[in-house]
Each structure stands twice: as C-alpha cells, then as structure tokens.
Amino acid sequence: MATDTRDSTSFERVSRAKDIAFEYLTLGATLLGIVALAVLLSYVAVDAVGWLNWQFLTSPPHPMPEKAGIFPALVGSIFLMLLIALITFPLGVGAAVYLEEYAPDSRLTKFIQLNIANLAGVPSVVYGLLGLGLFVQLVSLGYGSLLVAGFTISLLILPIVIISAQEAIQSVPDSMRQASYGMGATKWQTIKNVVLPESLPGILTGTILALGRAIGETAPLIMIGAPTTVFGVPNGPLAKISAMPMQIYTWAEYPDKAFQHGVLAAGVVTLLVVLLSINSIAILIRNRYQTQS
C-alpha cells in the first residue's frame, strides 16, 4: 500500500526509542517488588541461622531465647487451618453452586453477588470485631478459643472461597451441561457428574490459597483475645490457642535483641515455609488436573 510520496523499496529502520524505554520501565516495575522481597527474605533467613532448629520447632515458648520454641503456635496454626478448611470448603462450594447453577438471574442474586465481592474487601480487623461480638460475647465460646478463631477467620476468607469457586464453576463449558441435560440428567446429576468434577481443581486451588491467607492473619486473633503466649497444644475446641503470626508479633515486643532478631526470624521462616508449602500443594493439584484434561 505504498503511496506516491513514499519510496516503495525503502525499508529504513523505524525508531524504537520509546519501545526500548518502555520495556525497561516495565522491567524495573517487575524487579522492584521482587528485589525488595528477596532482600527481606535473605535478611530474615540470615538472622534465623542458628536459631531455627529442631529444638525451636518442638519446644514451647520460654523467657530465655535459647530455649524458646514455636511448637504450640505451629500446632495451633495447623489445627486452625484444618478447622477453617472444614468450615469454608462446604459452605463456600455450596454457596458458589447455588449462585451459579440454581439462583435465578434476579436483582436479589445480583445484590447478593455484589455484597460477597464487597465482603471480600472488608479489613480483617473488622471481622475480628464481628468474631468478638458474635462468637465470644453472644455465643460465649470463650476468648481466644480454637472455635472462635476458626469461625472468625472462616468468615473472613469465605467470600474469597465463594468467588474463586464461582469462577471455577463458570469456567466449565456450557456445552458440558447441555450434553448432560440432553441425556436426561437432573440438575443434581449434572452438578455431581459434570460440573463439580470439572471445576474441582480450580475450587481446590482457590480454597488452598485462601487458607494460606487465613493462617497469616493476626488482626482477628488479637481482636478475639487470643493469648500472646500459649505453652501447650490445644486440648479441645474451647481451649485457648496461639497461632504463628500471633507468636511472632509477641516476640517482636520483647526487649531482648536475641528475641527481636534470632527467635523472631526463626518464627518468620517457619511461617513462610508452611505458607509456601501450602501454595505449592495448590499448584501441584492444579497442574495434575490440568495435564489430565
């Protein structure tokens, strides 16, 4: 499409100055976050050397930094996570299935949908207040108990679980549903045989990532009155529990430098390792199902 004014055989270089400048700008944006995180992680990791050992992982907290450990908080976090998973998975998937497969396309549905999205953005400290008012004071499940902590943080991540499960269910092609209904399957049979198996990897990934967020939460635990230090493993649903972020927060307040650097760093590394393992499990599940289909 050469015009008269242009030499149709000339292919001189077009200026790429802006192209190159923009490329480096975006590279800088990418690196800034990653480098900051890497520096922080290496700083913490170096501090944790010598402190993070078997004794630290298996001991209760102690006033002497050499004898201090994270065991009750580690176990507390794991208990908490299991409880939250048990609560949020059925509720979250149930709500998502209802909203996607059963709910009429009405104003009420849209209103509920909008509010779930809003709830996902409510700060965790507000959920802590809700937990305090509802589960501690109204239902009297006790300050800082495993149940109260589990219920409160479940409420916090439930909107995230619902939304990610909805996205997974939406991604099931409609042609699959049509095929199933066309074979004379009921709605329940279609959901059970086609929709849920197809969306399960996405649902699991979303739930596990939400759980990862749940065990990093500190603010709701403070609000519901979780104790700063717990010396034993919780022995029942109403026992007071500690969790790793809570314990780390406590150590940060100790005047002793050995706590502020060594013990605290060991705690942070432990928390990060648990978190990253959870995320890796989510990625593994996703990849496994993706290669299958």
Partner: protein, 288 residues
C-alpha cells in the same frame, strides 16, 4: 438409503408402521395415498410459537415428523431451525428468556403439558450437538452416562459395546475404553457423542448440525451413520448444508428468516420441484 421408502406405501415386516395409529394425523383416511407414506408421525407441532423475550423466533409451526425416517431441517442462519429442534426435547427450558406457545406432540402427548417432566422426556429423545462435546471422562463412562443417570445399569458393558458398534466406533476404540474421550479425533468424538445419545435406546435422535465442525471424511462417516441409524430411529437433523440434507434425508423442512416453516415435503420434491419461489431461491443459492 434411497427414496424408495418414501414412495412405497406397504410395510410388510413391521405392522406398527403399516396401520394407522390413533395419534397419527396423516394418511388415516386413505384417500389418494398411493404416492405418499403411511408412516405414523412421532413428533407433531401445532401452531408452535417460540419467543426469546420479546423477539419471536418461531411462527406458527405446523409439522408432522414421521417415524423411522430422516427429517432434515434446513434454512439460513437465524431462521429458528435449532430453536425448533430444542423445543422437541425442551432444551429451550434452560434458556431463561425462552417462552413456548402452542403444542408440540411427542407420541400424541403435548410435551409442554404441566404433567410432563422435561428430564423424563429427554431420556426418550437423544441429542447430538453441533460441536462434539464428550465429557472429560473415559470413553466407556461417556457412553454409559445416560444409562447411569437413568439408574439402568444392567448389562452395562454389553450395552456400551452395542452403542459403540452402532456408532461405527467400536473397532477404533475397543482396546482403550478407559482412556479419555478427549484424546479422540474430532470425528471420533462426534461418533462417541452419537453412541452416548443412542446408548439408552431413545425413540428419537435430534442432531443439531452434527457435522459442521468436522472435516469432509469425518462428515461422510457421520452421514453414513445417520442413514444406518434411521432404520431404527426417528432422526431429526438440522443442517445448513443443503447437499447433506439432499443426500441423507427422506423429508425436508425449509425454515426461512423470521422463523417460518415455508415448505415441508419429501426431500426429492423440495429439492427438485419446490412449491414456493422463496424456497427455490434459497436452494439454488440466490440467498442465504
């Protein structure tokens, strides 16, 4: 299969097709029937209108679809041919905005009556869709799906094999029934979908442009298969491929823009000597 079964009036091997049925509307008075068929109709629509919201997709459709024949529905895009097909097994119920008026009789019963459960209806009417849509399950589980949802799992292995044989797929997959259906080629997937649809032994097979997403070789395999299946099933096939309709169907219905059924007759008549000028224009490619 040729046109012979359209023009012969006697059916010596099957009494049910020879004698007029109570629910059949055609050929019951026996006047001037020498050239027409006495086959009973399985599906019959009376004054059928379909609306999507305010938009009218089908207008007063009156049609009688004969048993154990291939009936093709042709017409330009947006003429309502798929909509009509989806009225028969009430798949339009799944579309919130769709509304049906008039009657659609299946074996003499209006399927839009309050006492008809669409799920039960669909168990007697198989459906094959435009793009192959096997479930991401094994080949075996795909074919067994309909029988399993109907809780009819007696001799399951045998019936899966029968369905795959009738769909001309058994020889290609019999050594890998537990492999994923998604590993099959497009043409194999569509034959698998046909096997899935016929496994519960429905009365009618609805096909919505079943070959439009396939290459010519796979298309011709599907066409051969449809002619085979018409010996036992009533087949209603929507197609935008007129040659395909001419090749495989006994009866052809021409829908034109606006959701009107303009002509419905023996395929040879529709293609060689259509009654309406608009149909002739469409068939000869002047529009559409």
């Amino acid at each position: 299969m040729t046109q012979q079964n359209v023009t012969t009036s006697e059916s010596d091997d099957d009494s049910s097709t020879a004698s007029p049925e109570p629910g059949s509307g055609i050929a019951s008075n026996g006047t001037a029937e020498a050239e027409t068929t006495t086959t009973r109709s399985v599906i019959e629509s009376r004054n059928l209108d379909v609306y999507y919201g305010e938009e009218r997709a089908l207008q007063e459709i009156d049609i009688e679809i004969p048993a154990e024949k291939v009936t093709a529905i042709i017409g330009p895009s947006g003429c309502g041919k798929s909509t009509f097909l989806r009225c028969i097994n009430r798949m339009n119920d799944l579309v919130d905005s769709a509304r049906v008026e008039g009657e659609l009789l299946f074996e003499g019963k209006n399927v839009y009556d309050a006492d008809v459960d669409p799920v039960a209806l669909r168990r007697r009417i198989g459906m094959v869709f435009q793009a192959p849509n096997p479930f991401p399950k094994s080949i075996y589980d795909n074919v067994a799906y309909g029988l399993r949802v109907q809780d009819d799992t007696e001799n399951l292995d045998e019936r899966v094999e029968t369905a795959l044989r009738r769909a001309a797929l058994w020889d290609e997959v019999n050594d890998r029934l537990d492999e994923s259906a998604l590993d099959l080629s497009g043409g194999q997937q569509q034959r698998l979908c046909i096997a899935r649809a016929i496994a519960p032994d429905p009365d009618v097979l609805l096909m919505d442009e079943p070959a439009s997403a396939l290459d010519p070789v796979a298309t011709s395999q599907i066409e051969d298969l449809i002619e085979e299946l018409a010996q036992d099933y009533t087949v209603v096939i929507v197609t935008h491929n007129m040659q395909q309709a001419a090749r495989i169907s006994d009866k052809t219905a021409v829908f034109l823009t606006g959701g009107e059924l303009v002509e419905f007759d023996d395929t040879s008549v529709v293609f060689e000597n259509p009654e309406h000028q608009r149909v002739e224009d469409y068939i000869t490619g002047k529009f559409g």
